[in-house]
Subunit: 242 residues, 2 copies
DNA sequence: GTCTATACCACGATAGAC
DNA sequence: GTCTATCGTGGTATAGAC
């Protein structure tokens, strides 16, 4: 349980203590969530004193943020870098939605596949954090994602010039939500999916099925007053008068 | 652990204490989430003794479940009833996906619009609960949703006979995820949406935009080996060799 | 049965000794 | 830098009053 995983570059050595805490915290947060993981459990697993967390990171909340940043920041940077590369590629004209989605998904898959980058369980932790009620988590993730999202919104905007900016914002919101939620929920909806036992924990299969679903939604007709809305109206009126 | 839980309508009046606790708990859970709400805050707001919660509900977790069941159970029953009504209607032949989605959305909107049923904030609580890491919440919601989901899955299966059952299961999973996430996240992604101040908390607008998005995803081409997957493959290979 | 007062142990945080 | 001691607050359990 000790000096595992990355321990990023250290000339003479990043404080071994901090890395041991980060590794232990990541594993326990992944398993039990933020609130249900005690500092006492983390420090015991890392073989350090209870007070070490507060000394090195300031608080349990800041430790949680450090755990996320360590993986998330590089992933989002890779997303943007991939998108840059795609856009500079002169071969294809304007970037297709498909390729933009690829730039969004591939770094997540790389992370999921490489245990040294966090492994697939880290994505579950991330997805859960994304929907956590705790205000500090929501604020933190909003800041972490802000530039990356803005960058992708611009790219999608060029790929879908007919789509109003507001509508695009919503659809991007739906995409990020479905992505986070899907990655977080592996165990939640076994009842729905009745999936084969082997397929269960495979994030790649998940994303491969999610991508076409989201792509179709992204290109869906505008909701100005299409079938659904009208039917919805009618049904709501009927419901009101019942 | 004694005369616990619902104690539904009784001639002379439901126990005032239990209802006061449920109302206070619902309000506080909505505002701060499960973990961040203390029993002491709940019992103070309800003007009852601290031990009353454990007496009437057994534990904080069971209180949370009671808070959810009170609104959720009727809503899911209405969803199924609406679907039944649509299917028995002889006018239209096989039920369209649009109308099935309507049966899924309308009871949620009714709940959101009627403060007596919980109001829109309850949907936020529900969406957050749906993505909560706590195992007891995930288990509880799975059970609550199980029959309803099975019912809708059968209906969608008839509307989309070409879609393999497994693929349908996934897409239903995505739909429930996007729905929960969307309803939960009103404040989360203000950064993405840059929405007009007035539009912000309107759940109806949200669902009207979400419905076409999900509908298109539901009808998307199969992901066997379409464009996205191939691009994804190529890009992953490229990433590996970098 | 219903409710109250109170005791318990685990938690996160911090001050101060080493 | 690291540790021990301690504080306030959390969920829970129970004994006894009405």
């Amino acid at each position: 349980m000790a000096g595992s995983v990355v321990s990023l570059q250290d000339g003479r050595g990043t404080t071994a203590t901090q890395d041991r805490i980060l590794d232990a915290a990541e594993a326990l947060f992944m398993e039990h969530g933020f609130e249900a993981t005690s500092l006492r459990a983390i420090t015991a697993a890392a073989s350090v004193n209870l007070a070490a967390v507060n000394y090195h990171f300031g608080s349990k909340e800041e430790l949680f943020e450090a755990v996320l940043t360590r993986r998330l920041d590089p992933m989002n940077q890779r997303r943007v870098a991939l998108l840059d590369r795609f856009e500079r590629d002169p071969a294809n004209g304007p970037l297709s939605c498909e390729r933009i989605l690829v730039a969004l998904f591939v770094p997540a898959l790389e992370l999921a596949r490489d245990p040294a980058l966090g492994g697939k369980n880290f994505l579950r932790l991330l997805g859960r954090a994304y929907a956590d009620p705790a205000p500090f988590i929501r604020r933190f993730l909003s800041e972490q994602y802000a530039q990356m999202i803005a960058r992708f919104k611009a790219a999608f905007g060029r790929a879908l010039p007919h789509l109003p900016a507001r509508e695009l914002s919503w659809r991007l919101h739906f995409i990020m939500g479905a992505l986070s939620y899907t990655l977080a929920g592996t165990d939640a909806l076994k009842l729905i999916a009745e999936l084969s036992p082997k397929e269960s924990p495979n994030d790649e299969v998940l994303l491969r099925r999610l991508a076409p679903f989201l792509l179709a939604g992204l290109k869906a007709p505008l909701p100005d007053l299409p079938d659904v809305s009208r039917e919805l109206d009618g049904e709501l009126d009927a419901a009101r008068s019942r």
